[in-house]
């Protein structure tokens, strides 16, 4: 063999097999290595380097989601249950069975219908490991990758919005405590923000919705979630590779960058890492690719498309030709520089590439179209009915394996895990100085204004953004979500929101899942979204799942997702998991991240003229709070700033919340509600302060009027009970409002005043007064 190397596995023992897996960064375990040995001993030969790498990529956690597909034996307080995580999540969508969910869990992204002509696709990815190593490049390619996912859904959707959610360590983390090779959170933060900014802005796609969480748990492993929303005609949702189609590679050239990204992402971060896993994006190439692809799509020049993400060509072609078979000629792949080995070409994760499947009669037209737009386009093989993946380099076969083995041969994994539910105890913490505590909560990193980051992103490009990340007076107020008007000739809109809060997970991941789902729905509904037309995406980032306790928490969280999504009647349309986010120190100690669940949601709005924003509109208007406050301060920001780890975690109450939200939606649609903001992180007082900042107005609030389980000022101000909204109603419309909400829990708590301060009363006795200036100073104190 001239170009590839034979890997000796037939005559080696188990120990050597594991060594081989570790040495070559394959991230395969012994069972899997043995299965490969078994397959090749049937063929009577050793695998080539290309074959074994290709199998490792296809079977990696990143591509195959081994853990989510595995059968898990789960013990909760001694009660045994067998389940498969992915099935548990997909069940929700199957049970709800909405006809507007047109492509779920099978393609690159989830797709729902806007109307009979148009559909919208949404996908959220994680790019944690690369961002921890090279923040600028890692975050940039994260966005680039998820944009390509949207380009590769169905026959291609047009990206119109990016979202981003980050979790970092505290910005003032002491340098001395950082191990070698780990970048400081401040540096990661700056790099990640610039990476997302540069890629999104240069692609001409607005970046509009997101969140940033800071916690010590993320010092060693930061989390970077990137999402993209795209629109596409309904008839372009289906794709099918046809036998005899040519394999066409378009976009950027192939280099040695990013080799082993997929297997690497299945491993933990260690101190020595090869340069080749780093990818650096080139948004200009991707922009050109995007534009020409959409033209080709509308001319029906190709039958199927997928992006070259993790695993590179091996994963893209392997996936497309799963049921047919493919022959690839690697020497036809355009390279950045000479000297790449065949397996490197096949596995490289060079960015900005897509693979098309093109019928014979269209090949010529496609090539001339791409050439005219100066985008590289080369035919590199053909899908032939062989049921095999055959790869040639010049005259040598470097890979020849059965598609069935590649995609179905993976030995099933079995896991066992435990979860011990701790009893939640009430912790009565009394505030010594209410005013000071309010200002401390407002200046906490998680709550305070992220304008320095958000204003770096372009959120207007494309001219579709109706409700922006900032609203109100001088654009200072913060929005719950973002509303887009995707079409020039229709008032239909889409609204995006998200929910994330790892702090509840410390107490119980089950309720964390429910709370994240509800927060996401609340965000969407308070912008004017219809609670009946919301679809959500799940993104799990978890620590060391080989630890039975960590896995137990994950299972508990997935159960929460499944139960609560069903109760809120929202389907999951797509999802992704990133596991093994842990760091192994020199002494072998394993530090896992806090289990983190991000729920991103997309909703449809019938008319974008009938939405509302969070800022107070006019003095004299009446303020109501919808929903009831409970004594649930566990995991709240108020307890966090006071270092209290106990307490009762908020409990979602789906039936009540859903019926309230339906009425809220009709209230917003009919113009009764002037402004609306949901109560989440930081409790009622944070919500009111944010509304004041947006409106540049003050308010008088009688806190003893708030409908609450207990009459305690700390609970009423800071409890993060779900299912609550603060709304502003004009005096003349109060009757209409009360009629609409007559069967719901709500209370009238105060009014908007011109004087720029908040005056808090308790049974008509003034308890505190904070000026808008002080509030703004605390809330906008974050400087990066």
């Amino acid at each position: 063999m001239k170009y590839s190397r034979e890997i000796e596995i037939l005559n080696v023992d188990d120990k050597k097999l594991i060594e081989l897996s570790e040495k070559n960064l394959l991230s395969l375990n012994l069972d899997e290595m043995k299965k490969i040995k078994e397959y090749f001993s049937l063929l009577g030969r050793n695998p080539t380097d290309c074959e074994i790498e290709c199998i490792a990529q296809t079977w990696s956690e990143h591509c195959y989601h081994k853990t989510f597909k595995a059968e898990i034996e789960y013990y909760e307080n001694g009660n045994k249950e067998n389940l498969i995580l992915l099935k548990k999540i997909m069940e929700v969508t199957e049970n709800l069975n909405y006809d507007w969910c047109i492509s779920v869990f099978k393609d690159n992204a989830g797709v729902i219908k806007i109307d009979d002509k148009w559909a919208v696709a949404f996908k959220v990815e994680t790019h944690n490991h690369p961002s921890a190593l090279e923040p600028y490049g890692g975050a940039g390619t994260g966005i680039g990758g998820v944009i390509r996912d949207i380009l590769g859904v169905g026959l291609g959707a047009k990206p119109i919005l990016n979202t981003d959610v980050f979790c970092f360590g505290p910005l003032d983390y002491p340098y001395e405590k950082l191990p070698k090779g780990i970048l400081h959170p401040r540096r990661i933060f700056r790099g990640v923000v610039s990476g997302v900014r540069d890629y999104g802005n240069r692609m001409g796609i607005p970046t509009g919705n997101g969140a940033i969480i800071f916690d010590e748990g993320y010092v060693f492993n930061c989390l970077v979630y990137c999402g993209t929303v795209g629109i596409m005609p309904v008839d372009k949702v289906k794709k099918e590779v046809k036998e005899g189609d040519y394999i066409v590679l378009v976009g950027g050239r192939t280099g040695r960058d990013g080799i082993h990204g997929a297997t690497f992402s299945s491993a933990s971060l260690k101190e020595d890492i090869p340069t080749s896993v780093v990818q650096i994006g080139n948004p200009i190439v991707e922009k050109k690719l995007l534009d020409v692809l959409l033209v080709a799509r509308d001319l029906n020049l190709y039958n199927s498309i997928t992006d070259c993400g993790a695993g590179g060509l091996s994963s893209a072609i392997g996936e497309m030709g799963k049921d047919i078979g493919a022959v690839v000629y690697l020497e036809k792949v355009p390279l950045k520089y000479e000297g790449l080995l065949p397996w490197e070409i096949f596995l490289s994760e060079s960015q900005e590439r897509m693979v098309l499947s093109v019928s014979e009669e269209n090949v010529e037209n496609l090539i001339s179209l791409f050439n005219s737009e100066d985008v590289e386009c080369s035919v590199i093989g053909r899908f032939l009915k062989t049921k095999k993946l055959k790869v040639y380099y010049k005259d040598e076969i470097v890979c020849d394996i059965d598609m069935d083995f590649l995609h179905k041969g993976i030995p099933e994994r079995k896991f066992k895990c435990f979860f011990e539910k701790k009893e939640e105890k009430n912790f009565n913490y009394k505030s010594e100085n209410i005013k000071e505590d309010v200002l401390r909560v407002l200046s906490e990193l998680v709550i305070s204004s992220k304008e320095e980051v958000i204003h770096q992103y372009d959120h207007e490009v494309g001219g579709r953004t109706i409700l922006k990340p900032f609203c109100g007076y001088e654009g200072k107020g913060v929005s719950d979500g973002i509303v887009l008007k995707p079409f020039y000739d229709s008032f239909k809109g889409i609204v995006i929101g998200c929910g994330i809060n790892p702090f509840y997970g410390d107490i119980d991941p089950y309720y964390m899942a429910g709370l994240c789902i509800e927060e996401c729905i609340r965000n969407i509904v308070s912008c004017g979204g219809d609670p009946e037309r919301i679809a959500i995406l799940d993104n799990f980032c978890w620590g060391n799942i080989n630890d039975e306790k960590e896995l137990g928490k994950l299972v508990r969280c997935v159960k929460g997702c499944s139960d609560f999504a069903l109760k809120y009647k929202v389907p999951f349309i797509s999802g992704k998991d990133s596991l093994n986010n842990y760091f192994r120190t020199k002494d072998g100690e394993i530090i896992s991240i806090p289990g983190t669940l991000l729920i991103s949601g997309i909703g449809i709005i019938e008319d974008v003229r009938k939405i509302t924003s969070t800022d107070f509109k006019k003095e004299g208007n009446i303020i109501f709070i919808l929903g009831k406050t409970f004594n649930e301060l566990g995991g709240s920001q108020f307890y966090r700033i006071n270092n209290i780890k106990e307490g009762i975690v908020p409990k979602p109450r789906p039936e009540k919340a859903l019926s309230l939200m339906r009425k809220l939606h009709s209230g917003i649609k009919n113009g009764i509600i002037k402004s609306c903001h949901d109560c989440s992180d930081g409790g009622l007082i944070t919500t009111i302060c944010e509304m004041m900042i947006g409106g540049n107005l003050g308010c008088k609030i009688n806190f003893s009027d708030v409908l609450s389980e207990v009459e305690e000022i700390e609970v009423i101000l800071f409890s993060e009970s779900p299912g609550r909204f603060v709304v502003e109603i004009e005096k003349e419309k109060v009757d209409e409002f009360e009629e609409l909400f007559k069967d719901e829990e709500y209370s009238k708590i105060g009014e908007v005043i011109e004087d720029k301060k908040i005056i808090g009363f308790w049974n008509d006795k003034k308890i505190f007064e904070i000026t808008l200036y002080e509030i703004e100073k605390a809330w906008r104190s974050l400087r990066f």
Binding site: Y175, T275, V278, G281, N282, K336
Partner: protein
Amino acid sequence: MNDFYIIEIFKVKKNFDVFGEEIKKSIEELGIKGVKEVRVSNLYKIEGEKINRKICEKIAEELFIDNVSEDFDVYKRKRGKRNFFEIEVYFKEGVADPVGDTAKRVIVESGILKDVSVKTGKKYYIKGKIRLKEIEEICEKILVNNLIHNYFIKWKK
């Protein structure tokens, strides 16, 4: 014969150097005091046949600089600035360099040269009362990611 030149692009003196100021702030956050001034310039290493100083000056003037706020220098080797630590940072071999690729395309498409290779880098000038050890710390913690960058420190006593 392949030859090479380096084009250095920097902000004209009277203009505020935003990136330099940002790095100065980061250095202060590290707890290193005594830095008076940080200036940043972009480096383009142009390599290929038929390269000479004149062509590189043309490339810099016509393609790379903003005439209002920036100026350039073309050289093969440059004598160090007095009182300044100079740090040059380049990508390691094999790491993608999109800016370099685009610069190369522009040079070829504008018809100045038929073929050329362009590598980009950054040069930092740091002035102040600091020791070499502190400069090394600044490099490791702020300016350089060892995974993808090579760097050199130059200083004149």
